[in-house]
């Protein structure tokens, strides 16, 4: 996040499907510098620590413990490492778990190459990538904790404004459109999403696991 904030972002691809890795590599070739690929947790941790890419593109499901294990092991040694979850999984539990572990955003594998490059640049700049789906998942996660008496209202609840922002994101509005609708600056919209991300990463394990259990029973 120092002088590297310009030019082609450097990334590594962590995914257990070789076909998918080569596809992404080909799509991004001229806009992103791909430093390497890995297909399991151990290989990924070694690769990331050795090559120090600006952004790690990471799948949820990996042999050896999943994407969450990669995030946890890398962050223990390189706390500033940026991760972007790139997955076909549409299970909220999977995505939320990865974001909670420290990923700064989540995009679906069907994303268009240009949008993926935008997301990579955004994550490199330290901003969250909050797509409609992630917003929906987060709203669902926090709506589960809303009714019960929260242990720590600062962390366990969303403010009405944050809810509003997330709802608009879920409905497919872009930051600029949201800012217009709410009469705030795009910068403020971003600070709301960052705050939500922070809350998510701080929310007590207990609350979220209860939410996950409830979803599992639904």
């Amino acid at each position: 996040m120092t002088d590297a904030a310009a030019g082609r972002p450097s990334v590594v691809l962590i995914d257990d499907h070789a076909l998918f890795r080569s596809g992404v590599r080909a799509e991004l070739a001229d806009r992103v510098e791909v430093l390497g690929e890995a297909e399991d947790v151990d290989g990924a941790v070694r690769l990331v620590l050795a090559r120090a890419p600006e952004v790690v593109l990471l799948d949820v499901h990996l042999p050896g413990g999943g994407g969450v294990a990669v995030v946890e092991q890398v962050l223990a040694q390189r706390p500033q490492q940026a991760f972007l979850a790139l997955t076909v999984s549409d299970a909220p539990e999977d995505v939320i778990a990865l974001v909670r572990a420290g990923a700064r955003g989540y995009v679906e594998k069907t994303i268009q190459p240009a949008a993926l490059v935008d997301a990579i640049v955004q994550v490199r700049a330290g901003e969250p990538v909050f797509g409609p789906r992630l917003a929906g998942f987060v709203l669902a996660a926090f709506s589960g904790t809303q009714a019960a008496a929260p242990a720590d209202p600062e962390v366990d609840q969303l403010t009405p404004r944050e809810r509003e922002v997330l709802q608009l994101i879920a409905r497919g509005y872009r930051y600029k459109q949201i800012a217009q609708r709410l009469g705030i600056s795009p910068r403020t919209v971003e600070s709301h999403t960052s705050a939500v991300l922070r809350k998510l990463q701080l929310t007590s394990r207990h609350e979220l696991s209860r939410w996950a259990t409830r979803r599992g029973l639904d």
Partner: protein
């Protein structure tokens, strides 16, 4: 997980039976000795207990790794049988003479044959399932060994009968017609002990085998279910895609359709019980995607769900009309967000496209779709509909009172 071969399985049963038989031989010797007042009873009993432990150990091992421990177990069992026979011959003759030894040997051979048949029958009962389960669990057991076992059992029964007659005759000779009461009680106790010794390991092995067989069948069933699904759904779609290469729109639609189906199947949502608003709207989204041949990709995001009541059904129908309009006039990606608004007691559905938009007031009165099918229908159900259209796209907001929210 490889499946154990049937041949190995029946080998396990045979081996176990021979061990049981050897065990019985030793116990029989103990009986003979106790009847004749011999002094070596403790030694023989200890041997019996040892053999018993071996039986259980081998049964457990053979269940887990039948194929690998096969040779070793057979060797052990053979050695045990030989040793038992030797012990019976030497000690038995020394203690009671030839006659009871021969009688006991006949009885045990008969017993072993009968038990072999019993175990085979139990296994056959295990495998007796409906045909497709047998198909999933492997080849059905052939009838030939069953016949062989039954013939063996008949011979065994004959041997047992002979032994019983011989034993009665022997007892009559030895006691001059009057069997002492103590000897009779001892005999009953010994027979009961014998039966327990036979039944224990047999029950253990039978349970182990039944559990293994069940797990195998279950695995087979799941494999078959997955295979059937992949075949019916995914392979068909892939074939269609290969035949549609010159039509990218159709390829995209087919891929999208298959993706939707597979996701629903993975999430266990392919059951027809669509009693929630989210399930109903997912179905409506799929329907509209299909009827417009993939002009729109409709993504449903569920923040919260509610039971499908009367209002919910009106909601689903209004949503269908809205989605049809969006697919027809905007196309591309259409987002549906289901979000309960607890404060206002409403279930809210947002449907948004990023097409060119239209002027709501400019829709001519004779085009009733928007007015009747969307707004009118929602108001009739006690809810409301509003349309917000501009150059960035169109968003339709549908609201119904929240009934039975989850």
């Amino acid at each position: 997980m490889t499946r154990a071969e049937p041949a190995v399985e029946s080998g396990v049963a045979d081996r176990t039976l021979w061990i049981v038989a050897a065990n019985l031989g030793i116990v029989a010797l103990a009986c003979a000795q106790s009847l004749s007042g011999g002094a070596r009873l403790p030694v023989v009993l200890a041997l019996g207990v040892l053999a018993m432990a071996l039986v259980v150990l081998l049964a457990a091992r053979s269940g887990a790794r039948a194929a690998r421990s096969g040779a070793l177990a057979r060797l052990l069992a053979g050695g045990l049988v030989a040793a038992a026979a030797l012990v019976v011959l030497v000690l038995g003759r020394e203690a009671v003479g030839w006659r009871p030894v021969v009688l006991a040997a006949t009885a045990f051979a008969g017993l072993a044959l009968v038990l072999r048949w019993v175990v085979a029958a139990v296994e056959a009962a295990d495998a007796d399932d409906v045909p497709w389960q047998q198909l999933a669990a492997g080849a059905p057991p052939s009838a030939e060994p069953r016949l062989r076992h039954a013939a063996g059992a008949a011979l065994g029964a004959l041997l047992l009968l002979l032994a019983a007659v011989g034993a009665a005759r022997y007892a009559f000779d030895r006691t001059d017609g009057g069997l002492p009461a103590a000897g009779f009680v001892g005999g009953v106790v010994i027979v009961a002990a014998l039966m327990a010794l036979v039944a224990g390991p047999l029950a253990f092995v039978a349970r182990l085998r039944a559990r293994q067989a069940w797990a195998e069948r279950e695995r087979g069933r799941q494999r078959q279910e997955v295979a059937a699904h992949l075949h019916d759904e995914v392979l068909q779609t892939l074939a269609l895609i290969q035949r549609s290469v010159e039509d990218p729109k159709r390829v995209h639609h087919l891929a999208r359709q298959q993706e939707r189906g597979l996701r629903a199947w993975l999430a266990g949502r392919d059951t027809p019980a669509e009693d929630s608003v989210a399930a109903a709207l997912r179905a409506v989204a799929a329907e509209v995607e299909d009827e417009t041949s993939g002009a729109a990709s409709i993504e449903v995001i569920v923040v919260g769900d509610a039971a499908l009541t009367g209002g919910g059904e009106a909601l689903a129908q209004a949503a269908r009309e809205t989605l049809r309009n969006a697919a027809r006039h905007a196309g591309g990606l259409v987002r549906v967000v289901i979000d309960p608004d607890a404060d206002r007691g409403e279930l809210v559905v947002f449907i948004r496209d990023d097409g060119p938009g239209f002027a709501v007031d400019a829709v001519p009165a004779e085009r009733r779709g928007v007015r009747d099918a969307i707004i009118g229908r929602m108001e009739h159900a006690g809810g409301s509909a509003s349309i917000d259209s501009g150059p960035d796209g169109t968003e339709v907001t549908l609201r119904v009172p929240l009934g039975g929210a989850r």
